[in-house]
């Protein structure tokens, strides 16, 4: 098995590692949508990822669903009515009609975000997958929910942006796309109910937002985190920021659910990106967040060298289900896309890392300091399962100081916090199914469900 410089890649098949219940959404037609000639966003990459995932037999370790297409009403939960009306009615044939033409500029549709055949269906599939993922997590049918067609984080309330038309994301939102997750940050800039954390290239780079000083406003002040980075950041540097920062975020914010946008344009060799992460380095983010055992939604996003996108999302699916796949790709319908090596992993490029250690330390300190301004959640300090891979020394020390490990939703869970936070998921599912599934999967989960059932019953207000 390949061993990375990060200290070994062996995955949770050992005694320390927990498996997770994973659910996965895939719309079979997604690969046939096409933004237009020369456009770097190619939905076909999602199909390539899916193909690899199946040929690695990862479907044996997870549930697979076809998403229900999100309807306009679902999409209007965030996006404005007229924007949704526009998206649902415009076609390449009618785009120059009087009624539509003047809206192109208004909604920023036409260039980066072209009108292509099936545009709205594409939006429905992408969003439907994320809504489905949220529903699964809400109902505790799964611990991790994957939707590689989601994660289109630039879409604003009333306009398209950065190849994204419909923003499908809710909740602690972590974004490792090379581009700033501006749409999501903007949507929740003034609330403390969603915390957004974005790692991105900053400086003469789309979309231009994501300054370290953007920390939110009003009630949302301190609930937006921006990690601005320079070209060429590598696995070790990235991890040196990601782990300590997210560790503290999890401790002080204690989210009920985490959404991780896994834009693959932060990989080395991306057509639009400028970072130098390997697939393993990229996946380390998922690995780390997974270890907290909080319901986790994993989404796609950017990624414009499609063979590497497929590799990355396939490997991350494997990380989610707890499998370490072989580096030699299985034979698959898109095999030739991955030549001449036909391997899963891509190595970083010989590229200068323009992020000096000093800058990175400064950034880290600033953000940790910002986090210390958040009011701590009342419950016991948060634990992670000890990572198998090496951690930076400082994080390791911090972990040693902590009391013994516990599982997020386990027996020691504070039911107060539970009751407060449970209704967050009610809004997604007011079919009024509190704590639906009670089938026991294992003892720990069973206890978890009992606690949640009680809490939800108590807290639930029919609406």
């Amino acid at each position: 098995m390949d061993d990375s410089a990060l200290g070994g890649a062996s995955l949770p098949s050992g005694p320390d590692a927990k498996k997770r219940r994973v659910t996965y959404f895939y719309e079979p037609s997604i690969g046939d949508y096409y933004y237009g000639q020369g456009h770097p966003m190619k939905p076909h990459r999602i199909r390539m990822s899916h193909n690899l995932i199946i040929h690695y037999s990862l479907h044996r370790r997870m549930e697979i669903n076809r998403p229900f297409p999100a309807g306009p009403h679902d999409i209007r939960r965030f996006h404005s009515d007229d924007y949704v009306d526009f998206l649902s009615s415009v076609t390449p044939e009618t785009v120059h009609d009087h009624t539509h033409a003047r809206n192109l500029k208004r909604f920023n549709v036409g260039e980066d975000c072209p009108v292509f055949d099936g545009l709205f269906s594409f939006c429905q599939a992408s969003t439907g997958g994320s809504i489905g993922a949220a529903v699964k997590l809400n109902r505790q049918d799964a611990d991790i929910a994957l939707n590689w067609a989601g994660g289109l984080h630039h879409a604003k309330k009333s306009e398209a942006s950065g190849f994204c038309y419909v923003n499908d994301i809710r909740v602690l939102y972590v974004d490792i796309d090379v581009h700033h997750g501006d749409g999501v940050e903007e949507a929740f800039f003034t609330t403390d109910r969603v915390m957004t954390v974005s790692f991105h290239k900053f400086g003469d780079f789309f979309p231009g937002t994501g300054h370290i000083k953007d920390i939110g406003a009003g009630r949302g002040k301190y609930y937006a985190l921006n990690v601005p980075l320079n070209d060429g950041i590598d696995d070790a540097s990235f991890r040196g920021l990601f782990r300590p920062i997210l560790q503290k975020v999890m401790e002080v914010y204690q989210p009920d659910a985490v959404v991780l946008q896994c834009g693959a344009d932060s990989l080395a060799g991306d057509r639009l990106g400028c970072f130098n992460l390997s697939v393993k380095g990229h996946a380390d983010c998922l690995r780390f967040l997974r270890s907290f055992n909080v319901p986790l939604m994993v989404l796609g996003g950017g990624g414009y060298t499609i063979r590497n996108v497929a590799r990355c999302w396939c490997y991350e699916t494997a990380v989610a289900v707890g499998v370490e796949p072989d580096n030699k790709l299985p034979y698959n319908e898109y095999y030739e896309y991955f030549g001449p090596d036909y391997t899963l992993h891509v190595e970083p490029m010989p590229m200068e890392n323009l992020n000096s250690a000093k800058d990175l330390e400064k950034i880290r300190n600033m953000l940790l300091e910002q986090l210390s301004r958040l009011p701590n959640a009342p419950s016991v300090q948060f634990q992670t399962t000890p990572p198998i891979t090496q951690v930076p020394e400082e994080a390791e020390e911090a972990m040693d100081r902590r009391p013994k490990q516990r599982i997020w939703n386990g027996e020691e869970y504070e039911s107060d916090a539970d009751e407060d936070e449970k209704p967050r998921f009610q809004s997604l599912n007011s079919d009024s199914r509190p704590g639906v599934k009670t089938e026991m999967r294992d003892a720990a989960d069973g206890v978890k469900k009992e606690i949640k059932d009680e809490a939800m019953t108590d807290a639930h207000t029919p609406s």
Binding site: R61, D117, F206, P207, T209, A217, D326, E336, K358, P423
Partner: protein, 476 residues
Amino acid sequence: MPPNFFLKLNMVQKRPFNDEESYEGSSKHHRQLDYTNQLVSFLQFVHAEDKAQPPNTSGEVVVSFKEGDEKHEITSELPLPTEKDRANEEEKGAEAPFYLLLSPERYNADRHIRRIVVHSEETHGSLLESPPHKLVPIGPDYQADIPEWGAPGAKNASESSDGFEPVTLFPLGLESHLSENCDVQNKLGGICVIAMPESPLFANNDDEAGHGRTDCNCEDSDSVRCVRKHIKEARENLWTALGQERFSELGFSDMGEVVAEKWSQEEELLFREVVFSNPVSSGNNFWDHLSTVFPSRTKRDIVSYYFNVLVLQTRSVQNRYDPMNIDSDDEEWRGIVESEDDEGGSDDEEEGDSVVESPGCYGDPYARNEILDNGSREYDGSVPFEGFSDCEHVKLSCDEDPIDSSSRCHLGSFVGRSGGDSHEYVLEHCETKLWDVGCSTWPKTEVEFLPTCSMIEEVFGLGSLEYMAGDGKGLS
């Protein structure tokens, strides 16, 4: 009352901002500047930390923005932080932002006000010193509406269930036959195709998942034929394991080269001709042409063929003959065969043709043998097309002149030169009956040919082009 906008300003502005260009980066793809700004005629500064306090006006800030092509500047005063603020900031190590309260006189529903950029100076490190600071707009048109917990006004999921939405150009075909253990409780949760495994939490047996390929025993290992065979096996195994229904539900019926079975040989050749005749660099859009040339094909069919067959086959060629320049994402097609070298391989090419340059391909009468040996069992150099009997083909392509599309040779076809050479479409010599119906292999219209027309002549002798064109299986 018009909504107010808060623009966040980073503090410590003791001097005017630099008069710099508006921030770049508004277009991800083209990285162009594209700002349309609404004039804001009145600005008021409010310290966000303490709105009750009258602003100290000992500082100055310049807000510059563009309206159309005009640049405007508004100079106003900024409350400086008090000593206490400064001390606090130093202690805490961060800076409290100022919020710039805008009361635009001409505010309307136009949303372009957000493009106003306030330039600020940063004093922390090189990375953080980015002067232009694009700000986050705040207002009801930007933030999500988040209902209160349990509030009656909270939107109801049951209200929002739209049922089946007819506004789809690509019908999703939601009538699926569910496997026995699947459970569709709420359609928002999607349609289950594969049920959650019984005991995923206990499955420590990685024997079932994560396996890559093993070395094969093929004599021509890693050849086109070998790869094709193994892909076919993999598909069959998958089909057996999943069953037809799930195999289709997961999209495998329409993945890979099997898609070519829905296209005739003629259509495939035509497809290639259209694509290679219309490079992006020439401002052409081959998709428009494809739709015209294939009026009975849906856009979806065309896209499907493109990615499942055409690009895939091109990559196969790249992998074997130009592995340093692989690129599945460059739709310029010229990029397939661009080489580092500029030496011309033949008379009128302007760009290097890597296929031409690559060893074994050019100027070597046995090149074809070498190329084909990987995939052919019966190749005999003296008989040009005997080697095609088992339909093992490797596609080569060349691109001699990206500007003049007429002087280009393409995968699967020749395009006539403007010079009037009699190049005609060449069709593969292969008997269709040799193809397995349902096998996921190369499509029927594989054509083997050489990078340049002159090379064919060289390898196969003069007149071979006429021979090929004259073959009864030529494109009619």
